[in-house]
């Protein structure tokens, strides 16, 4: 009756969200008085690392190529489980619902809390594009949680960590023909700090200072919808409703007015800083800190100030 958690890796390295997933499973297992079984790819460089975050048993499998294949593999292990945890990464968001459908799960996605109760399992999740917070009971099947990365945090609590391998297959209904991930950049959905800019930057040639600020902060870069629509920045950087939803510890918005569609994708951020020339910009209402000023003056100063701060740490 273990809590089963899927630990995703990319290029043989665990994603940060995977450590958070195991931490989540450990918190749940402590409440439920049970153990944590982590399932990961046999290619993962160091499966035993999952023990640091609470995995008692670490099962390595030859992963199927597609989320649906992986969902089948996890479904085959679901019998007798007390619950299942999947990080809400892009792959996880495809796996979890398929797994719930295959294994008769009661699934909460977009979850932002560890279970607040275990009989029935009760969790808190975001709804109505951050305009509502829902408490949901997982009543009608094996309880399963997909959580928002960076919402519950990583905790180190040692588990027994016995590593074993298992043979299981899933059927991939699609062939993966290409996979491209921008290298050397912080992936937006997992970023702890996001530096985002909008039309206030006046043109794509002015993004160097945004990239520089992001680089100083170890942040991902993002942009508003109009900026991706006019092609100044790629669609993959567009945060907001119909774009990517983020919840970093720090979101710095530069030259973005703060349309409701944008806020829907960022208002779960823990701290929001807004830099805008227009003191009436709606984004200031959603911000924690603001500077009314010209991005072309403020951002270079901020780069220097942050660089000095980082150097002093």
């Amino acid at each position: 009756m273990s809590i089963i958690v899927f630990a995703e890796e990319w290029n043989n390295q665990f994603k940060k969200a995977s450590f958070e997933a195991v931490s989540y499973a450990k918190s749940w297992a402590e409440l439920a008085g049970t153990t944590v079984t982590a399932v990961t790819s046999r290619g993962a460089a160091d499966p035993a690392a999952l023990a640091t975050y609470g995995a008692d048993r670490i099962v390595t499998i030859v992963l199927a190529a597609t989320p649906y294949g992986i969902a089948q593999q996890l479904a085959a292990m679901a019998e007798g489980a007390a619950g299942m945890v999947i990080a809400g990464t892009s792959i996880g968001r495809s796996i979890a619902p398929a797994l719930a459908a295959l294994a008769g799960g009661a699934l909460s996605t977009n979850t932002t809390s560890i279970p607040t109760g275990t009989a029935p399992v009760t969790v808190v999740r975001g709804a109505f594009s951050s305009k509502g917070i829902e408490t949901i009971e997982l009543t009608g099947g094996l309880p399963m949680v997909s959580f928002v990365p960076n919402s519950v945090g990583i905790q180190e609590r040692a588990g027994a960590g016995a590593v074993e391998s298992m043979d299981t297959t899933g059927t991939d209904l699609l062939q993966v023909t290409e996979k491209t991930i921008a290298s050397g950049k912080v992936a937006l959905p997992e970023a702890e700090v996001v530096v985002s800019a909008g039309r206030g930057l006046k043109g794509p040639e002015n993004w160097a200072m945004i990239e520089e600020l992001a680089s100083v902060l170890g942040a991902a870069t993002a942009c508003s919808k109009p900026v991706s629509d006019i092609g100044w920045r790629p669609h993959s950087e567009h945060v907001g409703q119909t774009g990517i939803q983020v919840n970093p510890n720090l979101y710095i918005a530069i030259g973005i007015s703060g349309a409701i569609q944008h806020l829907a994708g960022v208002s779960a951020s823990k701290t929001i800083v807004v830099v805008n020339t227009d003191a009436e910009a709606p984004f200031f209402k959603a911000a924690d800190y603001g500077i009314v000023g010209d991005a072309f003056e403020v951002v270079p100063q901020l780069v220097n100030a942050m660089r000095a701060f980082k150097a002093g740490q």
């Binding site: 398929a98 509502g132 699609l174 062939q175 491209t180 937006l188 009314v292 901020l302």
Partner: protein
């Protein structure tokens, strides 16, 4: 091609969201409902595919009679026929099972959904539906090319893209990129007139067992007023010492 577009009926993006006195459901008073924005990209993609390959577009929704204006709007935009499965969309699995029962009894080449609905933000139904039907699925789909009976689809993954090929039928969860924002269509007067005479069929629900139960909705705490600062050094100081964000 026999194209199916699954449509959610959701509060408009700009709607003020309130909950009923018990805090267990949305208070729909005064709320304007629209086609789920993600579904609009899928609907427009279906129109493009029909223009290129011929065929029929069916729009399908699980919901009560109050959702019919949303289906009529989809007809006005260019879908050929609409089906409403008369059930309360209690949770994702109930919706997915209703959709599955209809789809399994019919022949669709392509099932286009939106990646998620902007009301419950579950991002569950399309993947569940594909799994229940044992059909291939591509989420966050930003490109789709149909060639005879096969498809090449690209989905966003964290920090990049993955491209898949496979045979139809295929289920996709669409989003911006599947078509461009500027390609989205709004109903014109002729569309609205012809939509009135297009078929809208109501089917009775087949399954009802929900797996989850919403027990409480609250609104997020109102943010305290923004702290305006004059210079970047003060900002860095506050971010470090007060917000502990750096």
């Amino acid at each position: 091609m026999n194209l199916l577009v699954c449509i959610s009926h959701v509060p408009d993006t700009t709607a003020k969201i309130n909950f009923d006195a018990a805090g267990t459901a949305l208070d729909a008073t005064g709320v304007q409902f629209v086609i789920n924005p993600y579904d609009e990209f899928s609907l427009t993609k279906a129109l493009h595919l029909k223009e290129a390959h011929g065929g029929t577009i069916t729009v399908l929704n699980v919901g009560g009679p109050e959702t019919e204006p949303t289906l009529r709007k989809a007809l006005a935009i260019g879908a050929d026929q609409a089906i409403r499965i008369n059930a309360t969309p209690t949770d994702a699995i109930t919706v997915a099972k209703e959709l599955k029962n209809h789809i399994a009894a019919n022949t669709y080449d392509l099932i286009l959904c939106g990646q998620e609905s902007i009301d419950y933000n579950g991002q569950q139904v399309p993947a569940m539906l594909a799994a229940l039907l044992n059909l291939p699925f591509v989420n966050a789909c930003v490109d789709l090319v149909i060639d005879g009976s096969s498809a090449t689809a690209t989905g966003e993954i964290d920090g990049g893209h993955a491209t898949y090929t496979g045979n139809l039928p295929l289920v996709v969860g669409g989003k911006k990129g599947l078509v461009e924002e500027k390609d989205l269509r709004i109903p014109n007067m002729r569309g609205i007139m012809t939509a009135r005479s297009k078929p809208l069929q109501v089917l009775e629900a087949t399954e009802h067992d929900a797996a989850t139960r919403a027990v409480k909705f609250v609104k997020p705490a109102v943010k305290s007023a923004v702290k305006l600062v004059d210079n970047v050094d003060e900002l860095v100081h506050l971010l470090h010492n007060e917000a502990k964000a750096i």
